[in-house]
């Protein structure tokens, strides 16, 4: 290879290196703002740490006396490995380690240092081949063009089409490829050269494997389902849990169904809890069935008289997530870690069969009755099992899907509760991300009408409350069947009603 070609190839690698470097930085910044929120803070700290680390890298290059070419190749491999796995590792570690920030910044610092080493090394490699003024001009030109390309590619192509995890693997592969190519171009020799190419090829294959396996993390189709980027996705034995983060909007999806949007969940959860609990000033013991996100518990804890809350949710993966993830504990105000709260991971139906305690207030917050197993949780058999756990004078509230969209489903739940001996007080509320939403307050004895709302509510007030219990004609009561295990009337109404709007 002649000198000109060598020069050109080396300059091209500056371009690739610069692109890769910036991509890792962008990935880390995006990831941090997804996972930790507050994107301005995250981006500026990530950029700061990264640039500082690059400076450290440049400074360290001064200690390198010889063997620049070899070191350059080694650094490429290392960046490829660390940068390539960075996004996947951060996603996984996020839920595994308690101190996420040190890990995050540690990783950014490491990558920054290695990237900072590269350019000085390359300058030294090229110094005999170019004049100083040309050298500086060309290297920096390619560096900045690479940066421009990265900053365009990242939001326009990579995030929407590949996702963070695949993107980082892809650029890891590019880094390793540059390393392999430079080993050639720089004519590294000796036994070391052979080992280098074997190592490089191995790394390449490893990263490629990661690229393919990234599908296990989130699939193409899954990314297309959600408008916002997925920041966390796990499959428990019970469900697929996906968290997405848009601009200031954190959303939880279970099996693809939206459970809440952080923008308006307070409307839902205030309405779920307070219209019932605020009527029971003597309430001390509260049971929450479902609702592993702890948001209903957060509302319950606003009543100072409540001494004990028992949360029964099927999925340990859910309650763990909402006990540990800072992003989520910020939202539920650490409700699940409160001394007053006990979490039991069990199936509500089976748990009720063995329950011996009684509760003054019960919150039933199950997913919508969209399939036959869920339909059982809204049946006469279920409500019959619920009766004995309600303390004298106590009440239950049930989330009941949309009385506007699934009008028959809503009134079917009402009919089912009545058939089981409950008095009911249906109400509804508007939650922008859900639409018109319905709840039923049920009790075995009649409930007091006067109520005292706790402090600090964002939506409910004495005057909003009154309107909730009025049903306009398009949502008003209809005559429907009672939901029994042996007719699953509710699931059938629900499917038909929601089917119309899909």
């Amino acid at each position: 290879m002649n000198d000109r070609a060598t020069r050109l190839l080396l300059l091209a690698s500056v371009f690739v290196i610069a692109t890769c470097g910036l991509i890792y930085e962008l990935i880390a910044g995006t990831l941090a703002s997804y996972l930790l929120g507050d994107s301005v803070l995250q981006f500026s700290t990530v950029i700061g740490v990264y640039l500082f680390a690059m400076g450290v890298g440049s400074w360290l290059s001064g200690f390198v006396e010889r063997g620049e070419s070899r070191l350059f190749v080694q650094v490429q491999f290392l960046i490829g490995l660390i940068g390539g796995f960075s996004a996947a590792a951060l996603f996984v570690l996020f839920t595994q380690v308690n101190a996420f920030r040190p890990v995050l910044y540690g990783l950014i610092f490491l990558i920054g240092t290695l990237v900072g080493l590269e350019i000085p090394l390359l300058l030294r490699i090229l110094k005999d081949r170019l004049e100083f003024k040309d050298l500086v001009a060309r290297v920096f030109t390619f560096d900045y063009i690479g940066a421009l390309l990265a900053s365009l590619l990242f939001p326009l192509v990579l995030v929407p089409h590949l996702g963070l995890v695949r993107s980082s693997f892809l650029f890891g592969m590019l880094n390793v490829a540059v390393g392999l190519l430079s080993a050639r171009v720089l004519r590294l020799s000796g036994p070391w050269a052979r080992a280098t190419s074997v190592l490089g090829c191995g790394l390449f294959v490893l990263l490629f494997g990661g690229f393919l396996a990234a599908d296990r993390f989130t699939s193409w189709s899954e990314r297309n389902t959600y408008t916002d980027p997925i920041i966390h996705a796990v499959s428990s034995p019970y469900q697929r849990i996906v968290l997405t983060q848009g601009a200031g909007d954190l959303r939880l999806h279970l099996n693809g169904n939206l459970q809440f949007s952080s923008r308006d969940e307070y409307r839902y959860h205030e309405s779920l809890v307070h219209p019932g609990l605020a009527r029971l000033p003597m309430a001390k013991r509260v049971l929450v069935l479902g609702g592993g996100d702890g948001l209903a518990v957060r509302e319950v804890l606003k009543h100072p008289g409540v001494e004990q809350v028992l949360l029964v949710d099927l999925d340990p993966a859910m309650t763990r997530l909402f006990t540990q993830l800072p992003l989520l504990t910020q939202l539920n105000l650490d409700a699940l870690a409160s001394d007053k709260v006990r979490v039991v991971n069990a199936d509500a139906f089976t748990w009720l069969a063995e329950a011996k305690e009684t509760f003054d207030f019960v919150v039933v917050d199950f997913p919508d009755p969209s399939n036959f197993s869920l339909g059982k949780l809204y049946s006469t058999a279920f409500y019959r099992r619920l009766r004995p756990v309600i303390a004298p004078g106590g009440a239950v509230v049930v989330q009941c899907t949309s009385p506007l969209v699934a009008r028959r489903a809503f009134w079917c739940i009402d009919a089912t509760l009545r058939d089981t001996g409950f008095q009911t007080r249906p109400y509804h509320v508007y939650v922008p991300s859900f639409g018109e939403w319905g709840f039923i307050l049920a009790s075995l004895e009649s409930l007091p009408t006067d109520l005292s709302l706790p402090e600090g509510l964002r939506f409910l007030s004495a005057s909003t409350l009154r309107g909730l219990f009025e049903f306009p004609p398009d949502m008003d009561r209809v005559d429907v069947d009672v939901n029994r295990l042996n007719n699953q009337a509710l699931v059938r109404y629900f499917e038909e009603d929601w089917g119309k709007v899909r």
Partner: protein, 530 residues
Amino acid sequence: MKGSVAAAAVGVAGSWTGCRPAPPSIQGTIVGPNRELGHRLRDGGLPAPERFEQVDVVVVGGGVAGLAAARTLSRAGGLKLVQVELESEVGGNSGWGQTATTAYPWGAHYVPLPGREAVEVVRLFEELGVITGHDVAGRPVYREEFLCHDPEERLFLHGRWQEGLIPHLGVSSAERAEIDRFLARMQSLREAEGSDGRPLFAIPVDRSSTDATCRALDLEPFSAWLDREGFRTRPLRWYVDYCCRDDFGLTAAGVSAFAGLHYFAARGGEAANADASAVVTWPAGNGWLVQRLREGITGELHRGCAVHSVAAHEGRVRVSAFDADSGSAVGWDAAQVVLAVPMFVAARLLGAPGAGRGTGAVYPPWLVANLTVDQIPDGRGMGPAWDNVLFEGRGLGYVVATHQQLRAVTGESVLTYYLPLDHLSPADARREAVAWTWDQARDLVLHDLARAHPDIAARTRRLDIKIWGHGMICPVPGFLWHGDRHRWSKPLGNIHFAHSDLSGISLFEEAYTRGVTAAHAILGRGTLSA
């Protein structure tokens, strides 16, 4: 909905696990019955006991009929009672098994709502809390958990699943009209009474009207009746054949017209909280009832113990048996005996006095398979139901054991697949089936199901097989009303007979009522009217 993007959800959850590891190979065996003991029993040569213990009653057989007799006797109190069962567990044709996830049936798996004539069964259901009370109209209220949960049935037809077993996908209007005419006809028969004021078709069958024209229907095959009445189109005939195979083990061509009509027209129960067509069922199938019956028995129970002779002796009855566990002979000298075993077994145990007992009885063999699957197979058109049937399939499809569970589905389940072996004469089919290796039987089952579930082999972790050589009696033409059935039902001195065979129709209600009736005869109470 909470939330509203559900449409794509299923696809997402499915595609996410896109590349799964190769399926582990399927485990399994051919289970029971106790063949060795059975053969020794048949071939004779079991040692005679040296002494006979004095007892009041020995019940031979621990199927539903035997358990019903023993329970009724136990509740009367004050009797020294012994029950002897050949197998290591009671239940007979209503046996069950258990995995870590669920119980599952090996035979009988449901009981329809008992009608007015099945008083004994209604009383049992009240005692067991299956019936919890009555509404103002006097209709029984059933324990909701025990009623078959919705969706009850689905049928695989033209490449997709439809709800219900009566074909409607791709059925022409003429075919539909014929189905409707058939159903209307059955409904009118269900309401019809004979001149004696009894229903034409009742359960227990011996409580049906004695109406002569109706009983004459017993002489011709059901298929002949259907032809004559102009019920000929394919979807209906498949449905009718399916029902006959399901209850009797042979198609409409093999069973009597009386029996065929009995299947459709004798379902007389009602409930305050369910349709008349509802059934009660449990994960263990009727094994649940067997367990409850067993709990009500206070006598001595010998399992794994083969009775090989029952003989009158000085005004009492001597029962000789061989206990497989201890390898020793045991004997009882009883005031009364209930023979709750199939007729051909009773004939053998009795020796000369039993000669001719059960001649003409036909027992089509059955294959039952229990498949432990990592997930209940889904399919186009409709999700899993309790009973899942393939149109024109070789077998009768499968029942999902976890369907009655109230837990959120964890995935793993057991599917009980039923196949009456009616492709050959019962004797030839039995000879063939008994010789099958597990591999052969497994492939047969998987092949039949693969039409609806191409991935069934990959989903299956374990597949156990049971061959019922003489599963249940089949009411072939003439057997119900034109043979010696009634004579065989009468006691021989102080030996009483109680088995569903004696009804010619093998049902829980028949077996249970016969057991209770035998016990009542011993206790000096009324008997089953014939």
